[in-house]
Amino acid sequence: MKKLLVLLAAIVLMANIGLAAELEYFQVYKPKGGMKADEIMRIEYFVKYTKFARDAELKGKAYFIDKSGTVREKETLRQRITLGRKLDDIAYKDLVIFTSPAVRGMGTLTWTYMFPKRQQDSWLWVPSLKKIRKISSANADDSFLGSDFTNEDILTRRFEDETYTLLREENFKGYLCEFDKKTYFKDAPCFVIEAKPIKKPWYYSKRILWVDKDTGGGIYEEMYDPLGRMFKTLFKEYVIYDVNGKGYPVQAMLEGKDLRTGHRTVIVNSDIKFDRGLSENLFTERALMQSRW
């Protein structure tokens, strides 16, 4: 009996430790010196998916630049409501509407769940059908809307998908952005983390990630293929937005480079708004159906 009680107590304690590791929604966190790799990465994911904000709205413009310098553009309007609701397991809902002429009117609604192993639910408004189609979750290693980011780079990778090692703390050497020729985050204090995917074999063997101490955002990463060769670099410019006295770290620009093809994708986010009180009714199939184009 005593052994059983000890075992139960241990289980409860373990569960509490697990819960304690989860970050509370709608708070702003920053990584601090002395934190372990897991703690830093929990903050990095929290920041990446804007779990600090109740809702967000932004306009995005993506530039697809091939080796020869040819540029194609796509524009989107993106809205997110963060729920962190255990009752129906919903973490947040995203609505992305394409606004550039070639794909104007096309839109996707995505629900992301809290259970880490659960895939997203997605609905697509197809203007050529004038119909909503439920779509299977895109493959994690497929490119995100034809960009140099994969779906998991942008949408689906979770904390639980990798193991982490803190390599060092250092000042970032700076990133020279090819798009605007500016150097970002020169000498910014960073944690350098090695992230290895649990899924094997997988399209990458490891990521080396620089996490900015000021924002908690992963500002730069190098991705290595299963043979250990670097094949992609991703840069994210994080800026702090003051929202009702709270400093929200936001991705203002992303640049992804495929070193094998020489193709680059730049995403510039603008007109960013937080905590406007968006209604959850905007994130339903009916709202998606309202698309007119």
Partner: protein, 457 residues
Amino acid sequence: MKKHIWILILFLLTSLAYAEDKLSFSGSLKNETSIRIESLNGDLTKEKNIVELAGQYKIKGDELVFFTKAKYWYDAAYDARDKLDIAQHYNGHIQRSDWLRDCYLDYTNGPWLLRLGKQQVAWGQADGITILDRVNPVDLSEFWLPDMQDIRIPLWMANINYSPKLNSNLQLLFIPDWEQSEAAYLGAPFVFRSYTEFDAFMQLMMRNGCTWDVKLNPVGHQFNNATWGLQWSDRIGDLDYTLNFLYGHYYNARNVISTSGTKYIVNRNFPLWRIYGGSFNKTFTNPGPMQGVTLRGEFAYYNDEPTYFGNPTAASTKGYKRWDNKFWLIGIDRNFLTRWTGSFQFSQYILEHAKVGRTVAQETYPMNAYTYGPADQVENIFSLKLSSHFFNDRLKPEVSWSFTDDNQGKLSPKVNYELKDNLVFSVGVHYFYGNVWDSNGQFRDENQFYTQLKYTF
């Protein structure tokens, strides 16, 4: 002078609205060219140029929005080829009333959404098969080859939506407008065999001294002729479902032929019918063997569907019966091998009876309305679609194959290539096979190679 002032005022108002982000426009220019493969010298079967222009005006933010879209096209193939010029006016450029593709006012307030005006409404989960998707009539001038949004004929209607709770919606459709479904005119590549057979019979009888009196009995635009639709949408767990009901006049003409001496009288009727049905979809999101799979389906019970019967071997219709037919479909979608998407559908169209009469003398058979060929009591329909994307979404190949258990079908490979942001080039083939009395088989000599070039702005 007065005219110029009005133009100036209109220009200023438009500029102001545009500046305030209230007014937005979009449009496209598209060329569609197709060549009949069977002919060695390559018959030009389509040289269609299409212009579309859409505009949106936000009268009161997102609460009150006006939207309209117009389309005009001209098919020059009918000018170039004498043999297709039997009815150039109709085949080449007639726009009927559907040049106005959308014209409606959206009013959104809390749980209410009202869409009032000319529009199309798509029900159901099927891809390329219209089971519940019967709210609007269809234009089959090019069979089922164009996009569904171009096939549906928009109607003036009140589309009233109320959401009593999150993720649910009750939709009521009141459609006082009515138009009959359209098919290709004689001389066009995709004219139905039933049409050519009937025309040949008419010509033969006229040569023998008979006369014809064809009476079109269109449905009047009156309140008591209105079509009514009702859809309830909701979500149980992660299963989305709808329940549907539609009541109105059939959009496809059903001919009843009688004789009076040497005179043939054809009554083209559009009887009342009802649809009771439902649809569902579910993506398996939790870990397990089905994770990533989307399952979807729909079912319809067609009450009093006007179903042709007659002697299929002579392509002779004797009229129609109002049968209770059923149509159901199950579809499965999944992504695989990183960038490929596969989609499979199986459906059955089940007629109420295999034969019409009970005795051998009375025994007549249900007929395929497209061809006046025999219709199976249970038609098994399959479709498979594979698609992918390469070069950062620039190149998108796709192949779709639909077929039935009668060894007839259509195979359509296609490739889209994005030349520039707003300029997309497509090239593909439609290959039909099967018996001439089957829906696809009737076009087995109309296999086509086609190109499309679309510029959007």
